[in-house]
């Protein structure tokens, strides 16, 4: 069995946002609402120091697919709605999820509700929750028109494309549906539908800086294993003992 993971090279990363945007496109994640970002890939950002010695640093973040995942541990559903695959992906089942949000509380990298600080890049959440009430893609069911008869509407645009959302990336679904329903959590699957078929996760594939390296950490011939062996790396909140499988190397700013 593999032990899948990712290395993010912060020297290469320029925080352009391509990874986060491609993730939204690949996984059809909805727009932010009710304290939930629905950004399976996001950023932590910080400006420190004093002008002119100020330093701005950025870290791309995603689910760490922890080996000892607190989200899995707390999932009360039996069999668990959020679980580990033999390859190390922290996976979840939209049908089994009961929407209790214990995982969101237990995950050290998640926030139950995001406030304004997430708009500054100071906070993010691995897990997002689709509220019980209402539509999970409201942009595309909205029938209002800005200029009546002259401009379209979200609902009309979706209808014209004959899809629930116009740019729907309809992948072959397992436990995680292309569009999630109300009352379930959602998060990064490491693009399970892609990586289980030999492709790279979308965020890795699109990175113009080649800052993301994905692979099997247990395969000594893999690029990721070689990098982890050669470079000093760190993980987020190692002290929590969750054994994250997303590693960072180098530093974002040459002046930090």
């Amino acid at each position: 069995m593999a032990r899948l993971g990712m290395v993010i090279d912060l020297q290469r990363c320029v925080s352009c946002g391509a990874c986060a945007l491609a993730c939204k496109a690949e996984n059809n994640t909805r727009n932010r609402a009710e304290g939930q970002s629905f950004n399976w890939a996001d950023f932590l950002m910080k400006t420190g120091g004093t002008f002119p010695d100020a330093v701005h640093v950025v870290m791309p973040v995603l689910c760490n697919h922890c080996t000892d995942a607190p989200c899995v541990a707390v999932c009360p559903v039996s069999p668990k709605a959020i679980f580990k695959t033999p390859d190390g992906i922290t996976m979840y089942d939209n049908e089994r999820c009961i929407g209790c949000r214990l995982c969101q509380r237990a995950c050290p990298y998640s926030n139950f509700e995001l406030g304004e600080t997430s708009l500054d890049g100071e906070a993010y959440s691995v897990l997002s929750f689709n509220p019980w009430q209402g539509d999970t893609q409201p942009q595309w069911t909205d029938k209002s028109e800005m200029i009546p008869g002259g401009t379209s509407s979200g609902a009309e645009t979706a209808k014209m494309t004959a899809a629930a959302i116009p740019a729907l990336n309809q992948y072959a679904e397992g436990e995680v549906k292309a569009i999630r329903k109300a009352g379930v959590i959602e998060k990064c699957t490491l693009c399970y539908h892609r990586v289980s078929n030999g492709l790279q996760p979308a965020c890795v594939e699109v990175c113009p800086a080649k800052a993301r390296i994905f692979g099997d950490q247990d395969d000594p011939n893999s690029e990721i294993a070689k990098i982890l062996k050669a470079e000093k790396s760190f993980r987020l909140q190692e002290e929590k003992g969750t054994k994250p499988n997303v590693h960072y190397i180098h530093k974002y700013s040459a002046r930090a």
């Binding site: 090279d9 020297q11 320029v14 352009c16 946002g17 391509a18 945007l21 939204k24 496109a25 932010r32 970002s37 400006t47 120091g49 002008f51 100020a54 701005h56 640093v57 899995v72 541990a73 707390v74 999932c75 009360p76 559903v77 039996s78 069999p79 668990k80 679980f83 580990k84 033999p86 009961i98 929407g99 209790c100 949000r101 214990l102 890049g121 019980w132 800005m146 002259g150 401009t151 379209s152 509407s153 979200g154 645009t157 014209m160 116009p166 740019a167 729907l168 309809q170 072959a172 397992g174 436990e175 009352g183 892609r194 078929n197 699109v206 113009p208 800086a209 080649k210 974002y252 002046r255």
Partner: protein, 848 residues
């Protein structure tokens, strides 16, 4: 009991709350159930279709993933030698822009004759037939009254080939000298740097794969200024092997990552460049192979001392000694520290790093240097460093452009009648070539467009424009002091806007023609260069066209020409329908769709059916070209201009610009005056010999430091698709990827020390006022800007365009504030470019 979704939902609603159930169930369950195989899943099935991005002026070759006729995902064209198969974040916004719910889906006409900001045009849908009849009727009136010059065309985003069908042909055959490109509000002044020194009035390419020192100066190449995907790719590599230096008054993306950040006082780039040149010369760090050396070998460049011109033997350059004597000898780092606020020690350190890496240095000069009221000379000063370092046209240096073979459209000359011929000689509305507006693109006075001055021309002569056609532009938003455009547009009897969204400018339109969104729906051939290769990419429809929209440069001109023919003016239609012949089978177009395709085939034919084998990619015919989507040229051959082949007056790289001198003399002669007089009326401080060398001109500033204490800095977002992406939720969601910015917001950034002085804090709503106007926006205290400066990104502040871009479209209420409303309408008059950088406007900031 096993807990299931159904049982939980029932229990939760029964107990009246979802969260209370947490505790008893929260006991970790670590059993075998925590580890299991996931059900099989698979990637989406579809097809990658080749097309072109056009989200910035790089015009990347891309591919869009299409599933059931829907545009889903985006990547760079894997065959591209420029972007390596990657797009910058802009590309990923294409599906959102394609499916923007606020897109105009049918032609519309105005029913409210009143025009103004905040006045509802009361647009109603009409047919294409009615829309085109209205336009053709008014155009025929102009022909009848012998005033065809009162037809004006304003070009926004365009295809470099198809533009010939509208911009290049319609005014020419119909008879108007008044057709204007948007380019002078963008970055044209940049071209004056390489133009006046090496005779290359164009955007440069940079050999980033081989450079050992990148100097990002007045630009954030990780975010904008072309070749973004390649820069993103190479940036980390250069950081690892060499030195990255960022000169920018605010902490840009490049500045955040760079080894050296020089937060220059806005507008003093010329002083900094002069001091770096001074160090390179006094410390003997110039490149001998390109520049030459002292005949006696001893370095005579000593601060404050003139040298004998005859003592230095130049190789590929001209006028180094003059430049030293006239400008550089006193430009010591200590002097520059006073002007630029950059410590002398850092200037020396940076100059040495550049000198050490020479000639593998890329001094990448951008609009921050040049788009200022005296920007031509700053552009020369910064670009001239490439000359001293010998990095012109060499491996790892600064390169000229690469091209591809393109097919030419047939000549229109036979269709230009006497009326049109006479009209073409009339004076243009933009005032180019006036005594105080030399607009010397290509060193030819009066040759450069002065886009933003068209509004002033229209206001001076309200009857000048009777029919205004405009495509893809938004001058009521994208130009400095845009209220001038509002007033000018309100007076036009028939304004036709070809556009995808009801932008600010559209609010003044009489007829709105919905445009294809060309990145995913257009059909044309798009060319550019980067990473040492030229290329042509196809742009073609990638999915089902949802709305009754038409491509402005092909379909619309054909249909309009057809209408004009029916009403008695056949020339345009006859030209399109008789002269355009398919390059393979010779067929002429029968309708607008065929016309579009034949035009694309003519433009690209030399690449897929070449007469002689080409040095670049091998393409096996049209179908192969459409599938591959790209033709890459052969790699750039270095040292193009070396050996006396630069396109300057002396054929050398000119530190003393005989090229500028010649052009200025020609302009002065036209007005029977001196060059000094021309410089004076155009707002430059240089007199005498200084006018011909790269030199420091102190920054011009509108607004006294007493009343307007902050110097305003405008910059561009890495998510801006040329000011058209603000209606996309993903733009708003990830606005934070512009350093210091806040998602779903538009923040003015000042230094915390200034905030403390003024009693202002992050989150305050503030009014930002200049002599030109004022905007209200949110404040953020940020250490990425110098005390005394205020920085804000361009892009937000839409009061129209869509319901995400505007806070309230119906009420014309903006989200944030448009920087242009506080920027003064001013120019770098030697180029005709609009000033928007260099801190030329002072602002005051107060709680709103």
């Amino acid at each position: 009991m096993k807990l299931t979704r159904r049982a939980f939902i029932q229990a939760s609603f029964a107990t009246g709350g979802l969260l209370v159930v947490g505790t008893p169930l929260a006991q970790p369950v670590t059993n075998a159930m925590a580890l299991r195989k996931a059900k099989p899943a698979g990637p989406a099935k579809g097809e990658w279709v080749s097309t072109a991005c056009q989200g910035c002026t790089q015009w990347c070759a891309i591919q869009i993933f299409v599933q059931n006729g829907r545009a889903v995902r985006v990547r760079g064209n894997p065959l591209s030698k420029t972007n390596h198969g990657y797009v910058c974040p802009r590309g990923h916004l294409i599906p959102q822009q394609t499916y923007d719910p606020d897109r105009i889906k049918v032609p519309m006409k105005r029913t409210n004759p009143q025009k103004g900001r905040g006045i509802d045009p009361k647009f109603v849908p009409i047919s294409w037939d009615e829309a085109l009849d209205t336009i053709a009727d008014r155009m025929m009136e102009l022909r009848k009254n012998n005033e065809t010059h009162r037809l004006v065309y304003l070009r926004g985003r365009y295809s470099p080939t198809s533009t010939e069908l509208l911009y290049g042909t319609l005014p020419k055959i119909f008879g108007s000298p008044n057709y204007f490109s948007h380019s002078a509000i963008c970055a044209e002044a940049e071209k004056m740097g390489p133009g006046f020194t090496q005779g290359y009035f164009g955007y440069r390419d940079y050999d980033l794969a081989n450079t050992n020192c990148l100097v990002a100066w007045g630009t954030d190449p990780l975010a904008s200024n072309r070749i973004v995907p390649n820069t993103i790719r190479r940036f980390g590599e250069i950081l690892a092997r060499g030195t990255v230096i960022a000169v920018d008054p605010r902490m840009s993306n490049a500045a955040a990552k760079a080894h050296e950040w020089l937060p220059v006082k806005p507008g003093t780039d010329g002083a900094l460049a002069g001091a770096i040149a001074h160090v390179l010369l006094t410390e003997a760090l110039w490149n001998r192979e390109f520049v030459g050396d002292f005949k006696e070998g001893k370095n005579l460049f000593v601060a404050g001392q003139m040298i004998d011109e005859a003592a230095f033997a130049e190789k590929e350059t001209h006028g180094l000694a003059k430049w030293w004597n006239v400008e550089l000898k006193d430009r010591t780092p200590a002097w520059a520290e006073n002007e630029t606020l950059i410590p002398a020690g850092q200037i020396v350190r940076v100059a040495r790093a550049m000198g050490k890496a020479a000639p593998k240095v890329a001094v990448w000069m951008g609009p921050g240097v040049a788009m200022t009221p005296r920007g031509t000379y700053a552009a020369m000063a910064v670009h001239a460093l490439n000359g001293l370092l010998g990095s012109i046209d060499v491996e790892g240096g600064t390169l000229q452009s690469s091209g591809v073979p393109l097919g030419k459209f047939p000549s229109a000359d036979a269709y230009v009648d006497d009326v049109a011929k006479a009209a073409s000689k009339l004076k243009k509305l933009d005032g180019r070539g006036a005594k105080d507006m030399p607009a010397m693109m290509n060193a030819r006075p009066g040759s450069g467009v002065v886009t933003n001055n068209v509004a002033n021309g229209m206001l001076k002569d309200p009857g000048a424009v009777k029919v205004l056609l405009a495509s893809w532009n938004n001058f009521s938003f994208s130009t400095t002091d845009p209220s001038r455009w509002d007033r000018a547009l309100a007076k036009v009897p028939l304004f036709v806007h070809m556009v995808t969204n009801a932008s600010e400018m559209t609010q003044f339109a009489d007829v709105v023609l919905p445009a294809t969104f060309n990145s995913s729906e257009g059909y044309s051939i798009v060319t550019n260069m980067g990473n040492t290769y030229g290329y042509a990419t196809i742009q073609q429809p990638v999915g089902k066209r949802l709305w009754d929209v038409k491509q402005e440069e092909t379909e619309v001109v054909w249909l309009l020409a057809e209408k004009l023919k029916a009403k008695g003016f056949p020339n345009l239609f006859d030209y399109y329908s008789k002269e355009f012949k398919d390059p393979e089978i010779g067929k002429t177009p029968a309708n607008e769709k065929e016309f579009t395709e034949i035009a694309a085939r003519i433009s690209s034919a030399p690449m897929w059916m070449p007469k002689e084998p080409l040095k670049g990619d091998k393409i096996e015919g049209w179908a192969d070209f459409r599938k591959k989507g790209i033709y890459n040229s052969a790699k750039y051959s270095y040292k193009k201009g070396w050996g006396g082949k630069f396109n300057t007056a002396t054929k050398k790289f000119e530190f003393y610009s005989e090229t500028a001198k010649k052009g200025l003399a020609e302009h002065a002669k036209k007005y029977e005056t001196t060059i000094d007089d021309i410089l004076a009326v155009s707002g430059y401080v240089a007199r005498g010999e200084l006018a011909f060398v790269p030199h420091y001109e102190p920054p011009k500033r509108h607004g006294s430091p007493q009343e307007y204490p902050f110097t305003f800095i405008d910059y561009k977002s890495r998510l801006n698709r040329e000011g058209r992406s603000q209606n996309l939720p993903w733009y708003q969601e990830f606005k934070k990827v512009d350093p210091g910015d806040v998602s779903w917001n538009d923040v003015l950034k000042i230094n915390p020390a200034d905030g403390a002085k003024l009693g202002l804090k992050t989150g305050d709503t503030v009014r930002v006022t200049s002599v030109a106007g004022s905007i209200v926006t949110r404040l953020k205290l940020w250490e990425g800007v110098r005390p005394g400066t205020a920085a804000k990104c361009y892009g937000q502040g839409h009061w129209a365009y869509g319901r995400v871009a505007a806070r309230d479209y119906a009420k014309a209420a903006p989200r944030g504030g448009n920087n242009n409303e506080i920027l003064v309408d001013d120019y770098d008059r030697l180029s005709g470019s609009t000033a928007r950088n260099g801190g030329f406007v002072g602002v005051k900031v107060a709680k709103a």
